[in-house]
């Protein structure tokens, strides 16, 4: 599914060259739920950008399904992102003044061919994240948790191979965060590959495997013996806290 081999990323050149990623190798199989952890400055974001095909490594190999990402040009990378990758960002990145439905449909505009059932698909995606009654709302009229769920629906609309989430709970309260993590768990159970980048141990423990980055290299890579269950934690929250 995903295969990184001695991936390097350097910024600058010559004597001022800074190596941010120093030969990273790992594989992620289809259907895995992986958390990438690390303190700030360890190359987390850089790694995420490479995984998301937003940036290319300066060394090594990156294969996404059967595609050799390193050899692709800018247009091919754009198409690849559109087809294979669903992004979920810390700041949601929804278009203001645009209804939830249109926000979710946005990636389809850049698809090879605009599907006839675009609106149906967007409604289905919004329903699957529990926002069936919010499709005509604009981001400003939604809570943070709801906005992030719109963003997840947007990530799912193109039926991507992987969902890449960058601190998806970073701007959310505990309940909304758990709701997002519960959705990720459900997506994994449906067979999707999920990669979450976080600095939060509690968030990472919802995944099945944790990669710890330290100084541009993988410090350790271990499975989580018993992943936390977001549904159960939601149920155990005090009742008055529930919306």
């Amino acid at each position: 599914m995903i295969e990184l081999e001695a991936v390097e990323k350097a910024y600058g050149s010559g004597s001022t060259e800074a190596l941010v990623l120093k030969g990273i190798s790992f594989r992620v199989e289809a259907g895995e739920y992986v958390a990438i952890m690390g303190a700030s400055g360890t190359g987390k974001t850089t790694l995420l950008n490479i995984l998301g095909c937003l940036d290319k490594p300066t060394g090594g190999h990156y294969r996404l399904e059967d595609t050799d990402v390193v050899s692709l040009d800018d247009d091919a990378l754009s198409h690849l992102r559109n087809r294979k990758i669903g992004f979920v960002f810390q700041m949601f990145h929804l278009l203001e003044r645009t209804k939830a439905l249109k926000n979710v449909m946005l990636p389809l505009i850049y698809a090879e061919e605009y599907p006839d059932d675009a609106e149906e698909r967007a409604k289905k995606a919004l329903t699957s994240v529990g926002l069936a009654d919010r499709i005509q709302y604009k981001p400003g009229e939604l809570s943070g948790g709801q906005q992030q769920r719109v963003a997840i629906a947007r990530a799912l609309i193109t039926d991507p191979a992987i969902v890449l989430a960058d601190e998806p709970t970073g701007n959310l309260d505990r309940r909304s965060g758990l709701e997002v993590l519960a959705i990720f768990r459900r997506l994994q159970q449906e067979g999707r590959t999920i990669i979450v980048v976080t600095h939060d141990q509690a968030v990472a423990e919802h995944a099945g495997r944790i990669l710890l980055l330290s100084d541009g290299a993988i410090a350790h890579d271990r499975p989580v013996a018993e992943p936390r269950d977001a549904e159960a934690e939601l149920a155990s929250l005090p009742k008055e806290d529930r919306r």
């Binding site: 950008n49 998301g52 937003l54 940036d55 800018d74 247009d75 754009s78 198409h79 992102r81 559109n82 087809r83 992004f87 960002f89 990145h93 278009l95 003044r97 645009t98 946005l106 990636p107 389809l108 505009i109 850049y110 698809a111 090879e112 061919e113 605009y114 947007r154 193109t158």
Partner: protein, 402 residues
């Protein structure tokens, strides 16, 4: 990528920030409205000028002393045109029915008692009043007998009469023109301000012979007017007069004429030329304002790109190619120019109609601004939209999302 859907994104952005887009359109609106009004005024003025020029009697040929384009006024002090030339014209041209020789001097001192002023003096033949369609309102015109006897008589214009005599009747009184005493025998009808901006009524007519021998002391005249029996005879007469005068004045080919011939046709051409030049200058000004509008639009688009960096980054992350971003922003620019210019053309049309209805300005509403909107909108949209659109497209998704 579907071109139409991406283009639609560009149009959607228009409704998102109405004030900004209105400001972008403003330059286009004003520029095109200005252009439309100028075209309408230009067309109206041109027709007015032509109408006015058409009052030049079409059967009349005027031969001015002095070369160049003498459609304004004969040059002062040019001694090339003689009475003998006029006689030769009289003999050689067939089909004329009226001729007039005039020697003029502008701004001569006039005096009656203690009152003094300056006026234009025209030494004329008895045909003057008929040729100029300018009869006397009181008294008599310059007559054949006055010419023959070199009589010291004059006919005054109303302004001159008023200056020298106030409300009194000048007829029969004696005035001094320069150092020569003249008897006033008539008053011309009032004509008001002439096309050159001077007062036509501040003048005195004296007999041609008296003027040349007794007042000006000169053997030359200022111009000859020949009225033909028919318009059709004018072109040939012009040709004959030119040949005749060149021969008499011993002018051979490389040298230019020392006289100039003016006809109605020629005057109309010159007038049309002037109004065309004027329109061209004004159109250039309107074009300049459009240009400024385009630059304003480009700047606002650049600001808009900077402001929407995150949005552009997001779109790139979601799979938009550089081309898609370029198309989106170009569409936005084109929509602004197209909508703005259409509004401008409509505004210009309304203003032209209002001007015609409520002010003395003559306008002729033109369809051209509407026809020009599409090519102009394309031109300006691309010319001023491509730079911001390119800048947007070249943003690196990672940098933009930060």
């Amino acid at each position: 990528m579907s071109f139409l859907w991406v283009a639609a994104e560009g149009i959607c952005a228009l409704s998102a920030n109405k004030l900004r887009n209105f400001l972008m359109m403003l330059g286009m609106i004003v520029g095109v409205a200005l252009l439309a009004v100028i075209m309408a005024v230009g067309k109206g003025t041109q027709q007015k000028v032509i109408k006015r020029v058409d009052t030049w009697p079409i059967r009349v040929i005027k031969v001015n002393a002095g070369g160049g384009k003498g459609y304004t006024r004969p040059q002062a002090g040019v001694a090339t045109l003689k009475l003998e030339d006029a006689d030769a014209i009289r003999d050689r041209i067939r089909g004329w029915d009226l001729m007039l020789c005039v020697a003029e001097k502008r701004g001569l001192p006039m005096k009656f008692g203690s009152r003094q002023c300056q006026a234009d003096v025209f030494a004329v033949e008895p045909t003057y009043c008929e040729m100029q369609s300018w009869p006397v309102q009181e008294g008599e015109e310059i007559g054949t007998e006055d010419i023959r006897t070199m009589a010291r008589v004059c006919v005054v214009g109303t302004t001159l009469a008023k200056t020298l005599f106030g409300e009194d009747n000048p007829i029969g009184e004696y005035i001094y023109i320069g150092k020569v005493r003249f008897r006033v025998k008539g008053i011309l009808k009032s004509r008001g301000i002439g096309p050159g901006g001077t007062d036509s009524d501040n003048r005195a007519l004296i007999p041609l012979t008296t003027g040349m021998r007794r007042l000006f002391n000169q053997g030359y005249i200022s111009y000859v007017r020949v009225r033909m029996k028919s318009v059709a005879a004018v072109p040939n007469a012009v040709k004959t007069i030119r040949q005749l005068l060149r021969k008499r004045h011993h002018i051979s080919p490389p040298e230019t004429d020392d006289f100039s011939i003016v006809t109605a046709k020629q005057i109309a051409e010159v007038a049309r030329g002037i109004s065309r030049t004027l329109t061209a200058v004004l159109v250039a000004l309107a074009g300049l304002s459009l240009l400024v509008g385009g630059v304003v639009m480009m700047n606002i688009l650049l600001i808009s790109v900077a402001e929407r960096t995150k949005e552009i980054g997001l779109r790139r992350a979601l799979g938009a190619t550089q081309h898609a971003i370029l198309v989106q922003f170009l569409t936005e620019a084109l929509s602004v120019t197209l909508i703005g210019m259409t509004l401008g053309a409509a505004l210009g049309w309304s203003v032209s109609v209002a001007l015609r209805r409520y002010t003395p300005v003559i306008t002729e509403t033109a369809w051209e601004p509407f026809a020009l909107v599409i090519p102009f909108a394309l031109l300006f949209g691309v010319a001023f939209g491509v730079h911001p659109a390119r800048r947007a497209a070249r943003l690196h998704p990672v940098e933009a999302m930060r």
